[in-house]
């Protein structure tokens, strides 16, 4: 389905990012595994991709730094010659109530989760415009549309990603590049593992399907958007959240 396509996944060392990298590799894609800090985890993702018979390289880059991002794309292009699919998945949390949220906490989340997407979309646009094709998939979140107490920074960034997705979709449509978003609900990852049990139980109570999602639930939808099956879709946000937002 994606045989020979080069895919760059940001934040691919763990969690949803790793699941996406492996899902797309299963479908035939070669993978650029971006990571910011977890080198050991990133190399594990690379090994798993290689075990599937695909090519993979790992590139360290802090997506909030445009120079890092440009270097990463340069490395990826030198190695693979093109970028067909970009998945903007890298994200962090610094939860706090608005009243207590420090400026640093706000900035850190906006820089990585929103500016990071801008930096990567901008860098990917050049090679994709030349190819006259490309698929960009941004990972946002259910809280970007619902809001969530204690996550003003994260919610603002994720809502921003939805607007960025629509704008990039409009700007790039005539060049054969589609830009869509996937909004996961609460997924069973290290990011949600830190939540206390009572908070988790309360969360599950809000999910019509009655369980946390698995990383593979998200990866499957990303695969769909990355494939030719989704050629006539752009600017959309697909909600994969067990029915939380409908």
């Amino acid at each position: 389905m994606l045989t020979g396509k080069t895919t760059l996944v940001t934040g691919a060392s763990r969690g949803i990012g790793r699941a996406i990298a492996l899902k797309l590799a299963q479908a035939g894609a070669n993978i650029v595994v971006n990571y910011a800090g977890s080198e050991a985890a990133a190399s594990e993702t690379v090994e798993q991709v290689k075990a599937l018979g695909r090519e993979a390289i790992m590139v360290r880059a802090n997506v909030s730094d445009s120079e890092d991002v440009n270097e990463m794309f340069k490395t990826a292009l030198e190695h693979f010659g093109n970028i067909d699919i970009l998945v903007n998945n890298a994200g962090i949390t610094r939860d706090n109530l608005l009243m207590r949220m420090k400026e640093e906490e706000w900035d850190a989340v906006i820089d990585t989760n929103l500016k990071g997407v801008f930096n990567c979309v901008k860098a990917a646009t050049r090679p994709m415009m030349k190819q006259r094709s490309g698929k960009i998939i941004n990972i946002t979140s259910v809280v970007g549309v619902l809001g969530n107490a204690g996550q003003a920074n994260y919610v603002a960034a994720k809502a921003g990603v939805i607007g960025l997705t629509k704008t990039a979709a409009r700007e790039l449509a005539t060049r054969g590049i589609t830009v869509n978003a996937v909004a996961p609900g609460f997924i069973d990852t290290e990011m949600t593992a830190v939540l206390p049990e009572d908070v988790k139980a309360n969360l599950v109570g809000q999910i019509p399907l009655g369980r946390l999602g698995q990383t593979d639930d998200i990866a499957s939808v990303v695969l769909f958007l990355a494939s030719d099956s989704a050629n006539y879709m752009t600017g959309q946000t697909l909600h994969v959240d067990g029915g939380m937002y409908m």
């Binding site: 050049r126 415009m129 030349k130 700007e171 005539t174 060049r175």
Partner: protein, 77 residues
């Protein structure tokens, strides 16, 4: 100069699909050659590759005519 103009012309013909006779030094990309903003961004990208130079965003915004492109390339190569 003549060589630069010829190479620039070829890129414009390929990218914008306009008749070569319309590509004169005074021609404005947007007003005379029917380019939209994204076309101009793409043209700049291709010129960078063709002439192996980097045109900063600030400079690129100032370039509006064929003559300005040729002049820019001549003074930066």
């Amino acid at each position: 100069m003549a060589d630069t103009l010829e190479r620039v012309k070829k890129i414009i013909v390929d990218r914008l699909g306009v008749d070569e006779s319309k590509i004169v030094l005074e021609a404005s990309f947007k007003e005379d050659l029917g380019a939209d903003s994204l076309d101009v961004v793409e043209l700049v990208m291709e010129l960078e590759d063709e002439f192996d130079l980097e045109i900063s965003d600030e400079d690129a915004e100032k370039i509006t005519t064929v003559g300005e492109v040729v002049k820019y390339i001549e003074s930066h190569k």
